[in-house]
Symmetry: D2
Subunit: 345 residues, 4 copies
């Protein structure tokens, strides 16, 4: 059994880790820390876990995380970089669900997140945890930078096109929509039910933190300079993410060839479902599951390709992807504990 610690278990990615790990056959939940909720049984905060998770939150200083085999950080940015060095030094693997190790270029990180990086020496060793594009490195990793939710959809959607060199990398437009849980479990007016329900809006249109992360990763797949416009929107639903990816074709490829690029790229992937050409994937077909679905379109037969990508932002977009990484890091079957079928309707 793998002894697992979770730092910051009170947020949505934290409780989602608990939901997944509580039924994972090779995991023993060992410690869940929360500064504010020290001593509170986890199931008192999340009654859905009553009878299933029987430990309590403990204050960070009371929990001996070095007893764990792996520690997940489901924390705001800045926490993992402070604690990871000691854990790694003691042989504990670390999976950070925040952004601390996602951007290799320290200057870009610090400009983007407006904090100093306190463990820059780990940036090189950190492995970006997008399994489908990085599997072999993840197997060897001790420190995982779990991808952002939006970046996961953009990379899975654009990678086959960039690798094949059939699109203009200098003019990518990603129009993305997320359920409200993506904003986290914070007491803020803007995400109250009476504010976010029955409403739709964009946010961060002039510039968003996920753009540099995504651009840097996409750049790996092409020699052309990547230029990405990324526009996030808030959808009145709890879970789910839908990315509508636009690119201009620079080569004369048929619809069949486009479709084949994707089918070939993901033919061995159990968590990427390439739907028939021209399909319209719905976010609800991934709700609660680690599945990402996509479909390719070519509006009016023109020179623009559109890729529609859906996932559950809390699973494949966050905690499920982290567990997928953990499975690989410990030599387990990749889908262990991740086989739940989406809740539909």
């Amino acid at each position: 059994m793998i002894k697992v610690g979770i730092v910051g278990g009170t947020g949505y990615t934290g409780v989602e880790l608990l939901r997944l790990l509580a039924v994972h056959p090779e995991v023993q939940l060992t410690a869940i820390t929360s500064r504010k909720e020290d001593g509170l049984p986890v199931a008192d905060m999340y009654p859905s876990l009553r009878g299933r998770v029987n430990i309590a939150f403990s204050a960070p200083d009371k929990a001996d995380l070095t007893q764990c085999d792996v520690v997940f950080f489901a924390t705001p940015h800045g926490v993992a970089m402070a604690q990871a060095p000691e854990l790694l030094a003691k042989g504990v693997k670390v999976i950070d669900l925040a952004a601390d190790f996602r951007i290799k270029d320290r200057a870009v990180f610090e400009k983007t997140y407006k904090i100093d990086h306190t463990a820059p020496e780990l940036l090189e060793q950190a492995v970006y945890g997008l399994v489908e594009l990085n599997r072999e490195e993840i197997k060897q990793a001790n420190l995982i930078a779990n991808p952002g939710c939006y970046p996961t959809t953009m990379q899975i959607g654009y990678a086959p096109l960039l690798k094949a060199g059939v699109i203009d990398a200098g003019h990518l437009i990603a129009d993305c929509k997320s359920g409200v849980s993506g904003a986290g479990r914070k007491a803020e007016i803007g995400i109250l039910f009476s504010e976010a329900s029955d409403n739709f809006k964009a946010y961060g249109v002039s510039g968003h933190r996920h753009t540099p992360e995504t651009s840097a990763q996409l750049q790996r797949f092409t020699d052309q300079k990547v230029s990405l416009i990324f526009t996030p929107h808030l959808v009145p639903m709890i879970r789910g993410m839908h990315s509508t990816l636009y690119a201009k074709l620079t080569k004369d490829v048929s619809n069949e060839e486009l479709q084949k690029l994707f089918e070939d790229a993901y033919k061995d992937e159990q968590f990427v479902d390439v739907m028939p050409f021209g399909s319209h994937p719905e976010t609800r077909t991934t709700k609660g599951s680690n599945m990402l679905r996509l479909a390719v379109h070519r509006p009016d037969g023109g020179d623009t390709v559109v890729v529609l990508v859906v996932q559950d932002n809390l699973v494949k977009g966050a905690s499920g992807q982290a567990v997928q990484c953990m499975n690989l890091m410990f030599g387990l079957q990749e889908d262990l504990g991740l086989n739940t079928i989406a809740l539909l309707p």
Copy 2:
């Protein structure tokens, strides 16, 4: 492996059976019938099942259900009574999720459902599939009448009080609220998103089919004549049911004694969670799971007891309960395939 057939797999209880059974370790999905969708791969209708359920719907006359060990009827009322006799005669067990065998009194059934009963000889042998109140009979059953969703909550909530003889059985008021999936997957104006969203209403207040079913079952637990007012309402959410049960206390019992009645009644039940006295169970703590949660209240310390009961209407209220019955009928562990934790948030 148990060979399972599903008649009427296109509705919400049907797809919910598929979701549960596709990952059930002892089940082999053998046939799913649909008159209208003959030949259509199940996953084409429900993309959430892509890669997980690989069979197609078949027309009723093409499917040899007698090859199955058990057949679930996820159909409108009237279908199971037509087909059950032949299946039972050939040794196939039958679990009906509709009402055909729920009411023992043929006259009451026919008056309530306004159809003739074509298999009245089976009414006696049919076992009412509410496991927590009927476990031993279910283990021996060949024909299960799976309870209605509302009746499940009312029976679990009132039974301990009636058995203990502490309430006035002649004046029970059950104010119940259901998510919209309870209305089924039918093309009807009233359950369109633009009609049912951002709205709340009662329906069937003057009389509802679940009243006679519930009254007859509750009568088993008391000598006093049961009189039940049952008021269903429609909540703008997909899944979830919340019953607020009122009863007048006829004996001088303390809050602790009330609480103990429930804790004792369900102390060995893994799918009934008696929360601390005065709790407010939320429907979302059961979403996608087979768990039913309840809590006992006594407003302003008076002589009225209020029991709050929540469940997922499609799981414990329908398909999960049916699988729970199946497990017992085949001598399996009761919770096999039913251990999913609720999806929260």
Copy 3:
């Protein structure tokens, strides 16, 4: 033109007052106070008011409310009682949307709201602002205690039955459901979209502040001692309230007589719509309007009468009712500025 001031204009009842008063033909919005938002244009906080409300919030100490003809308090409990004495002394009428003057019995108030009453001398003079049950007094009033949202539905629904003496006043059960806006515009976890959406729950079941207010008002209509069980629930919708009111009939009345009690009681009321016997009023038929709709039922023809009452909790349940009072206090037509038709769908 009536010069209107609003104290506490940033909450939901505040912005609803603004929406209604901005198009009221006899009103001039003169001052809107907010301690936190001093100087902020109202339309910056509520862009729906851009181009329609052109004043800014001002700090309480900067606004000279004594210039107003009437001041609305859309504040938490305790604010109006502090400021009303001075305003009234200077001839300014006061309408309090909070609870400060709703309960005549000071001891009950202080026990219920757990604060000292600092203006007990005004309790006698305050008029309870439920127009349909109190019109003549309201016309003469200088200080209005605007009713709570739940109490409005319970009084309108029970009053005709109590006045006619046909029900048992000692065993009233009111099962009520409210949209989330009723919880106010507060940064609290429990009313986040991701917590309150796709969910249903009861709250305050063991005792709620609206019970004493309602019981005291209902007592006016009967000599029998009123005993009320009131259970509030939270519905995943922004606006709307549905009360399901139960009472036991003590006299042999026909359905027609029951219906006539209500039709007679409200035949001259333009904001109370008595629907045909056995109807199921929907909250959405009142969304954004000052209309309250009700319908009478008698389940299975028994001795229990059920009254279904719906309203928009922010309009007839709060700000619309307050404007209705204002119209009467200033001798205007009762429906001035309140004629908007509900937004459906």
Copy 4:
């Protein structure tokens, strides 16, 4: 008083016309036709209109629409073209909310809508009813082709940029999102609450009927060949539309100049609100009102301009726009009956 007839009053644009026209000071509702609901009082179908609209639906052959001054067609495509010639011949003005007269090029219309045009002689005379871009012609019109909901947002958003010649008209990308009411009041599985709620999806990505309409209109503003990619999506909310419009800048313009283009274009418009540069308009700020709001962005200061446009799809996107046209056609004040403030929250 203007005598108004409505053909097809049972759909969502029909009931929205009723909501607006019932309180319009210069309108007398004279006839509302419905083939299926002949004789049914309008308020029985839409209880929100109880006490406000007192006429009944009448079968088309029973209603003498020639008595009307103007007839609105809130019907499926194909109905207005059949009845408009006779009405126009008798001096009745016609406003068609469907597509029959939106596309001047008959061949394009017939290819797009897959029906023959039976009144091609009227195509020339029909005036496209987008007031802000076509006001003078509308004032003189007898036959109005009311714009589609999506096309309204795209035209208002792109027109100033195209007129100024600062963008590449050959590569416009419009990523648009609509509330579910846009799909109409039809008994279809796909728009059931349990299917469309808690979900997000694109539809018609490979080609949608609003593309030719919009392209043709946009072409009026530029000599460059317009090429438009239009992607509609379905948002789980009843009302509201959000269009995210992308264009590549071809000239070196500052943010201030971009903003000024829009402010100048719409400075006299009471139903177009140009928000400050970089704002994020929310659909709810237009709910129930005829207002359209927009804001201009320039992500990361690059060469892509993004225009965010919101409106209520049933008001400015349909029925409100139609009433705005009617006001102009009859020489009334443009905003008569259209001054309602959006319902927020």
